[in-house]
Amino acid sequence: MSGTTTNKPHPSSSPGLKSLKKTNPFRRFWKQIDVQLMVFPGILLVFVFSYIPMYGVLTAFMDYNVFTAHRIFENPWVGFKHFEAFFNAPNFDQIMRNTIVISLLKFFIGFPAPIVLALMLNEVRHMVFKRIVQTITYLPHFMSWVIVGGLVMSLLSTDNGSVNILLKGIGAIDEPINFLSLKEYFWTILISTNVWKEIGFASIVYLAAIAGVDPHMYEAAEIDGASKLKQIFHITIPSIMPVIIIFMILAMGSLLNAGFEDILILASNPILRPVSDVLDVYVYRIGLQNQRYSFAVAIGLFKAVISVGLLTMANYLARKAGSSLW
């Protein structure tokens, strides 16, 4: 076998390959059937579980619910009826407001929080302390939303809830507050819980970026008598700016993902719906609980189309900024 014709010789890369390539793609395919068989199951699975559902979005333009014909394409086409129904629905404004407000809150609070944590951890010179803080703050990331929800319910409950015990102890309240059934607290609880769960783990990438900053810059700054705070703002932050920008752009790409599991779990009380219903949660309830499939698919499609636009734009910007999702 000659290793001179190609960089990576393979059983099929015999000297006759070049002529084969032009003459007979089927024979060439057959010669590499072993590798094709490696990718075939993956292609089949992705086709079935990702592409067939895409085809299923056509039901958004039909009248299909649990009472109509079981075979999807025996149902009548209705054009944009369900989209119009959603846009004119009395709770449309509310759902859009919740989706946008919760996403923006998550973006403006949840996005910078791990950066601040990384900057703080970087100032810690006591390595054991740093490792302990990291280990502890990463932990909540690995807990399911069921567990996190259970912990939040337990902390906020009126029955031995620590938050109520604390507030009562400092004299801020007289009677325990049932936080998880009051609309005015929901956004605060949702955002705090998200930050609590993800702040540590999300700081890893920023810590790695900070580790790559040239230490000579700090030495020079110290000689010039720059304070720690000045060093953070004039050396560390500018140095990791490219990473921050990439992650910010990518976060903007998923701006309509206001949350799903976290809201399903934390807003299990129906009283909260006026502040907790976001697009994804509404699709779930209308589609799977009320079984109005077409209506739910239409809402989902509406969201997906905007999301694709945002994601494409984000990835385009990220590419311009020097990186991309892949």
């Binding site: 067939i52 399911s144 069921v146 567990i147 304070s227």
Partner: protein, 298 residues
């Protein structure tokens, strides 16, 4: 060790940072600790309030009850089973696909890549997925935990990047020795891929263990429910009768009046969290590695 004078402002900043980090660590740990303490305190006593850092009336009874709950025990077995089967099969399938996709002579490789990446942008959504799973007969079927998650495009890309970084010479010499592509994959590539397999496998395993949503929509048979989904129902319902406890235990609970749903769900939460807490310190470095691999651009 550098000796230098630390200015007053810098010292103040450092104190602030240490104080903040201690507070943050405390807030990350306290909810777990409090639930742990409540799970060891007598239920009726807990509802009198004031249980924070230490149990007042210590008892094992909550755990006694939890471990007699047949539904929960069964849920644990389902969770373990799906985590092991799901992780091994998904990691292997995704790695095989990824290796195939690294072969430069693979016909249609560019098209396949677009085919996979497109799914990262757009998906059919919840309802079309649900209708598909239903029409495939995967409702109330253990395989619904395994098959739809066999291929992760994101993990495939990470695997592929890793495989591309392996020295090409090894594969070449194996080919000269007459080793097939599959042989090269199993005998050379996989043994060299320990770190990336461990990392992606651990993330997959955690996702399997933590998943409560898939079973909540696709499974109605209570014998197939994993423990997270059962726990979610217990937390929402607060009804002891919903559990799979033997009747005599239920009547004992009702007559003893020392249990509350809070004390029992706390004990259940602790048992569900325990497997992760136990493995967490040992595998933490892989998690950190995983994030960094994932965020590297190709």
């Amino acid at each position: 060790m550098r000796l230098k004078r630390v200015s007053f402002g810098d010292r103040l900043l450092l104190y602030f940072i240490y104080a903040f980090l201690i507070l943050l660590s405390f807030s990350a740990l306290y909810p777990f600790w409090n639930a742990f303490v409540v799970s060891f305190n007598e239920g009726m006593d807990t509802s009198r309030g004031g249980i924070t850092f230490w149990p007042r009336v210590f008892t094992w009874d909550n755990y006694d009850v939890v471990f007699q709950d047949n539904k929960l025990i069964n849920g644990f077995l389902i969770s373990f089973y799906r985590t092991i089967v799901g992780t091994v099969s998904a990691t292997l399938m995704t790695a095989i696909l990824a290796y195939g996709m690294t072969r430069s002579f693979l016909m249609g490789r560019k098209f396949y890549m677009i085919f996979f990446i497109f799914t990262m942008y757009f998906g059919g959504g919840l309802i079309p997925n649900f209708l598909l799973i239903r029409s495939l007969g995967l409702m109330d079927n253990f395989l619904v935990f395994i098959i739809p998650g066999l291929i992760s495009v994101w993990n495939m890309i990470i695997f592929r990047t890793f495989f591309k970084g392996l020295p090409a010479g090894l594969e070449e010499s194996a080919q000269v020795d007459g080793c097939s592509t599959w042989g090269i994959f199993f005998r050379i590539i996989l043994p060299l891929s320990g770190p990336v397999i461990a990392t992606l496998g651990l993330f997959t395993a955690i996702a399997h263990w933590n998943d409560w949503f898939v079973p909540s929509i696709y499974i109605t048979n209570p014998d197939l429910l994993p423990v997270q989904t059962i726990l979610r129902r217990l937390l929402n319902s607060n009804i002891i009768e919903l559990s799979g406890l033997p009747n005599d235990v239920i009547s004992k609970i009702n007559s003893a009046r020392t249990f509350t749903s809070k004390s029992l769900t706390s004990a259940t939460m602790m048992v569900v969290t325990l497997p992760i807490i136990i493995v967490y310190p040992f595998v933490q470095k892989y998690f950190v590695k995983g994030v960094l691999i994932g965020s590297l651009k190709e």
